[in-house]
Structure formats: C-alpha cells, structure tokens
C-alpha cells in the first residue's frame, strides 16, 4: 500500500488533470472532463498504467530496429 502511495505521489508531480485528460484522449478518443472527474480512481490509474506499458513496449521495439 505504501509503495502504491509513492507511485501516486510520483504521478501527481509528473501530471496534472489536463495532462491526464490529454493522455487518455490521445489513446481512447474524446472523453469529457466531466466524465474523467466521475471515473473511479482505480480505472483511471489502470488506464494510465496500460498506456505507460504500451509506450515502453513501443520504445523497446523501436530500439530493436
């Protein structure tokens, strides 16, 4: 649980609400800010985590080429 807090704190420093909104829309299409605010915390965190993992995979595959 404490580790998760550290991750969330990191997220807070790196990203703001608009940044997260922008990131989600880039990957999943239009989402209203109202919809984002109403989304459950675990859903948003997991979506961001999936985007991060996808980017890492993309980076690795680009490095191989």
């Amino acid at each position: 649980m404490l580790e998760r807090f550290r991750q969330i704190k990191q997220l807070d420093e790196d990203e703001n609400l608009i940044g997260i909104h922008d990131e989600l829309m880039r990957n999943y299409g239009y989402i209203s800010i109202y919809e984002l605010k109403k989304m459950p915390i675990p859903t948003v965190l997991e979506l961001l985590d999936q985007i991060r993992k996808y980017k890492e995979r993309l980076k690795r595959s680009l490095r191989k080429r």
């Binding site: 404490l2 998760r4 969330i8 299409g29 605010k37 109403k38 989304m39 459950p40 859903t43 999936q50």
Partner: protein
C-alpha cells in the same frame, strides 16, 4: 451517457469484522477521480512511520479520512439515510479507512488484473466500433 459509464461503479465485496466480533459483507465502490487529491493529502501523512502508519496524522487528515469514508458509503449505499451512513462511517472509521485506501489504490491481486484485462479488451472493442474519417 458517457462511453465509460458502463464500466463504472463496480462494487467490490469486502468482509468486515467489527470490534464485537460480528462479520458482514459490504459492497464498496471506489471513489471518483476528483478525490485523488484527498488521497494524496492523506498519503503525505499516512505511512511516514511504516510500523504504525496512523502515527503522526494530524486532525485535518483525520477529517479528510472521515469524509472519504462517508463519501464511499454514500456512493455504495445511496438509498440509505445519510445520518445513518454518517454514524456508521464515524463508528467504523478505523476499520474502513485501510480498506478504502486499498480499494482505491491497490491493484496487486490477480483477480483485479483479470478485471483490468477484460476492461482493456472491452475498450479496444469499443474503439473499433467508432467510425473514423476514412469510413465517413
């Protein structure tokens, strides 16, 4: 209705053991994204002391924790009377707060990972259904 609406509000069944030894299953829903700031504020104080995470927490943070417990109860049981929920949240605050934090921030279990995979699959399927400029 938003695109993600159908994935929201899935309550998690949590067994709670009260101080008098009785057990009950509560269906608790996670908090909304706007509450992440409150969780972060709690996180700043919570866990400074790893042996006793509640040590060093100030009054403001305790108020915030109580707010979050009440908010979770309201989200999970909207049909119940508010004063009853408030009394329940205040009485069982110490039992509920670690569960609520875990519910919102911990994603370690395989069951949760499976849920996330399903969500990912459903999001991908929905994304395919959205018409692009090329098809229009």
């Amino acid at each position: 209705m938003g695109r993600f609406n159908k994935y929201l509000g899935e309550a998690e069944e949590i067994e709670i053991e009260y101080k008098n030894g009785t057990k009950e299953i509560l269906k608790l829903k996670p908090l909304e994204w706007t509450d992440i700031k409150n969780l972060l504020l709690i996180g700043k104080d919570f866990g400074k002391n790893t042996e006793n995470p509640l040590e060093g927490i100030n009054e403001k943070t305790i108020d915030l924790m109580q707010d979050m417990v009440l908010k979770t109860m309201k989200l999970s049981y909207p049909e119940e009377p508010e004063d009853e929920l408030k009394a329940f949240a205040t009485k069982n605050f110490m039992i509920l707060i670690p569960i609520i934090i875990d519910l919102n921030l911990n994603v370690g279990s395989s069951e949760k990972l499976e849920k996330i995979k399903q969500l990912q699959k459903r999001v991908k399927e929905d994304a395919r259904k959205i018409p692009t400029d090329k098809t229009a």
